[in-house]
């Protein structure tokens, strides 16, 4: 079998499983009593192990196996989670992630995991003896001891029995299933795996005999039996199993309270008969208890277990290159559409105009769909943060609660790819510099657990991501001192700064307020890099802070980077585009309205004085000079809070334009952010208004 064909699928799925392991472990840390979380952790680990073993990544499989053993003990109530176990499991996860990354990079996924394996085994051993001593009268489940059991002694321990009992009480059926695989079957482990997959889709496997591990390693004859809770009807379950090829027989028996108590109490030798007996006892009135109406069963199941089948979303994975191609083709179409619109307005034939208008409507629908296709929820970036904050909090000995809202907010994939690092930095900054230690917080009369809010939400054509924390806030005196010391501002300048401007000094290059340089954040290269990264994405970052109360970083990002609305303008014979997102207003001013202040041309706009920028001068226009005009058109643009009026020759109109780069040969052209192709085939340059405002 050519494994390469499955490699990308393996990587995708491994990442999904690692992520869900991470999330569930974190959740478990908060609610250590919730055994349903352990179940889902176990499932993820188990699937991961199976996949990596199949793909021949032995180290990966071995480490997952050890982690699974520990989880199994926890699952069966034989081990109480403590912080050492959590740390070891997290370390294991990190190692697994590193191995998967190695495989992504074309490596073999090999790594030295002996240290982690050793501590996992230590956990297993230290538990092993007390567990045996304490529960001597309960039969050891085969999966925990790893010993092979003889197939007759299907027996439930107290824990498993109580789960079954609870689910029956909650109205979900419990079944005992005996599966026989055809003796001609060559890969019976594979068939068994397929059976388990069907079962796990339908409900939750409580116990299997022989153990799942043994079945996987082919250590069983052609039969095995399983206890499962499921909302699916008996016949349906049976049919589904029989649908798998090379399955000889599947005997599904519904269990009730009586048969359960017999099973858990019966001595090992009598177990087989007990099942037979219980089967006999249950089967006559089978119609009543077994065929649970699907409607009732579904909600009940949702309560008892986080059913894996519930989140079957109808999605397909698409190569991102194909989406990019689609986007490019669509851009071409958009250019032609603009051209057609021009032509039809020249030709003035009604039926042509109507057709073109219809096409325009269809293509704008198409545009929104194409853009939506590229949208990814920010969750794909946010999901690694809880784990990161947990680790940071531990290493800094702080208590932190991370509250994430709006993780389903969607952003263009290109933005998502770039936004991860800046956000990591902002969060690290909040944990390290923002939040105080427990003692400091208590002294300040705050709750000892600091809170970091990570919010994402839509607003207009932008997405906002906020990182807010209730920490110490910005000490403006300290900021000013450092800024002067590091030569960011002079003392003269410092006196004239508003409090908002002082806060924003921390974004200046070469600034760091941390007394100590830590490896978490703060080498003075941080926040200015964050700012320039976000600016390069067409976004903006601002800061609000109250000393002693906390700070809020607010990152504003454009929804998409490929198609924007823009105002087209003319400068003599040349055409330019100005992004609509930064335009405040357009208007006309007379020459008399222009005032000269300190040699700078200013105008009055909405009762404040703003600078007037001559676009023809900035762009060295060959055939237009606004100074010769009595009346001149202006476009008022903004950059954050600052405004400026830009003089232009003539407005052409508003248009959807497709952003094109100028290529690698022309980079960093002042005041130009890119180019677009107009309906007439000419290239128009896109003006970067941020560069016009100093």
């Amino acid at each position: 079998m050519d494994m390469n064909a499955y490699l990308s699928m393996f990587i995708d799925e491994s990442n999904d499983h690692l992520q869900s392991l991470n999330e569930n472990l974190l959740q478990l840390e908060n609610e250590p009593e919730d055994l349903s979380i352990v179940q889902s952790i176990f499932r993820s680990a188990h699937t991961l192990k199976g996949m990596s073993a199949t793909m021949g990544f032995e180290d990966l499989a071995a480490l997952t196996h050890e982690m699974e053993n520990v989880l199994d003990l926890v699952r069966n109530g034989k081990l109480i989670m403590d912080s050492f176990i959590f740390d070891t499991l997290f370390k294991g996860l990190d190692a697994l992630e590193a191995m998967v990354q190695d495989i992504v990079g074309g490596g073999t996924g090999k790594a030295d995991v002996t240290a982690i394996v050793a501590s996992l085994q230590q956990i297993l051993k230290s538990d092993y003896s007390p567990a045996k001593a304490g529960q001597a009268d309960t039969a050891e489940p085969a999966s925990a001891t790893g010993a092979a059991t003889d197939s007759g002694s299907v027996l439930l321990d107290e824990f498993q029995a109580s789960i079954l009992l609870q689910s029956i009480e909650a109205g979900v059926q419990a079944y005992h299933i005996k599966v026989t695989i055809r003796d001609s079957c060559l890969l019976k482990a594979v068939r068994a795996y397929m059976v388990f997959e069907v079962l796990e889709k339908n409900g939750e496997v409580i116990k299997s005999d022989p153990s799942v591990q043994d079945i996987e390693q082919d250590k069983f004859d052609f039969t095995f039996s399983v206890f499962i809770i499921s909302g699916t009807a008996q016949e349906e379950l049976q049919n589904q199993i029989l649908n798998i090829s090379e399955i000889e027989d599947a005997a599904v028996t519904a269990l009730d309270e009586e048969s359960l108590s017999m099973l858990s109490a019966a001595p090992a030798a009598a177990a087989a008969e007990a099942i037979e007996a219980s089967a006999a006892a249950v089967e006559p009135p089978a119609d009543k208890p077994t065929i649970v109406p699907a409607k009732e069963a579904a909600p009940a199941r949702a309560q008892t277990s986080p059913a894996p089948a519930a989140n079957v979303s109808r999605t397909i994975r698409v190569d991102i290159d194909r989406l990019d191609t689609l986007m490019n083709l669509f851009s071409e179409l958009l250019i032609d559409r603009v051209r057609l619109e021009q032509l039809s307005s020249e030709i003035k034939r009604t039926d042509l105009t109507e057709t073109v208008e219809h096409m325009a409507r269809v293509s704008s629908d198409l545009q929104s769909i194409v853009l939506k296709l590229r949208m990814v929820p920010v969750d794909s970036v946010f999901n690694r943060f809880p784990r990161m904050i947990r680790d940071l909090a531990k290493s800094l000995d702080k208590k932190i609660d991370l509250v994430i809202t709006g993780a389903d907010t969607e952003l263009d994939r290109t933005v998502i790819d770039e936004i991860g690092d800046p956000l990591v930095h902002l969060l690290r900054n909040s944990v390290d510099h923002g939040l105080e230690t427990v003692e400091e917080r208590i002294a300040a009369g705050k709750p000892e657990v600091g809170t970091i809010y990570l919010r994402a939400y839509h607003s207009g054509n932008h997405v906002f991501i906020e990182v807010e924390e209730d920490g110490r806030g910005i000490n403006q005196e300290k900021v000013l001192k450092t800024a002067i010391k590091n030569g960011v501002v002079t003392e003269e300048q410092a006196k004239q700064l508003t409090s908002d401007e002082i806060n924003h000094l921390i974004f200046a290059p070469g600034f760091s307020t941390a007394d100590k340089i830590s490896d978490i954040s703060g080498r003075g290269v941080g926040l200015d890099v964050v700012k320039s990264k976000i600016t390069s994405l067409g976004g903006n970052v601002t800061l609000e802070s109250a000393f002693g109360k906390g700070s809020k970083f607010s990152v504003q990002l454009p929804l998409t980077l490929s198609i924007i609305s823009a105002m087209l303008i003319k400068l003599g014979s040349e055409k330019y585009a100005i992004p609509l997102s930064s335009i405040v207003e357009t208007g006309i001013i007379r020459k008399e309205q222009i005032k000269n202040i300190h040699g700078n041309r200013m105008i009055e706009f909405r009762s404040s004085i703003i600078p007037l920028v001559s676009l023809s001068k900035v762009l060295e226009s060959p055939d237009f000079n606004d100074e010769e005009e009595d009346e001149t058109e202006i476009v008022v643009v903004r950059k954050g809070e600052k405004w400026a009026a830009v003089t232009v020759d003539e407005f052409i109109g508003q248009s959807e334009i497709v952003l094109k780069s100028l290529g690698k040969y022309l980079t960093n052209i002042e005041a130009i952010s890119g180019a677009t192709i107009l309906g007439d085939g000419y290239v128009a340059l896109i003006i970067d208004p941020n560069a016009l405002i100093k």
């Binding site: 851009s331 762009l619 060295e620 094109k660 100028l662 290529g663 690698k664 040969y665 192709i677 000419y682």
Partner: protein, 153 residues
């Protein structure tokens, strides 16, 4: 016998130049060029090459020859080197020939006023005809453009 090399032949003034065929994306007639402000004077601007924005430079200007107004025969040769696509304005492009790599000599110190480092070599085509082979990555070297810009300021 060396290897056969397919070369696009174009002219600047009276001299003939060659670029390997596999580096050339397309040869276009002159099309409207959008000026890009604040760039070196030999960078004429950008054109729309079937939906892709491509910068265009005047090869005469690049080699510090006097620039002329484009004629009927002027062409834009679009080359692709190191993930960059750039168009060269040349006086004419009208031939594709095969040359033997053995006939390419190392360039002498100064050839026709062009600094030798832009040259890969000189190919002798016989009958006294010489073909100047260009070293494209040097022609498109941006560091030197930056130096030129600084000189102009």
């Amino acid at each position: 016998m060396g290897e056969e090399l397919k070369v696009i032949v174009f002219a600047l003034g009276t001299e003939e130049y060659g670029i390997e065929v596999d580096k050339v994306r397309t040869i276009e007639r002159m099309s409207p060029i959008t000026r890009v402000p604040k760039t070196a004077s030999f960078i004429k601007g950008v054109i729309n090459l079937r939906g892709v924005v491509v910068p265009v430079i005047d090869l005469r200007g690049r080699f510090q020859l006097t620039e002329t107004t484009p004629t009927e025969n002027s062409r834009i040769i679009v080359v692709a080197v190191a993930e960059m696509e750039v168009g060269f304005i040349v006086d004419s492009a009208n031939d594709v020939i095969d040359i033997d790599t053995d006939t390419i000599d190392l360039p002498p110190e100064i050839v026709g006023g062009i600094k030798a480092k832009y040259l890969r070599g000189i190919a002798k085509l016989g009958e006294g005809r010489l073909l100047i082979m260009l070293n494209l990555s040097e022609v498109l070297n941006k560091n030197e453009i930056i130096q030129l810009e600084q000189l102009e300021v």
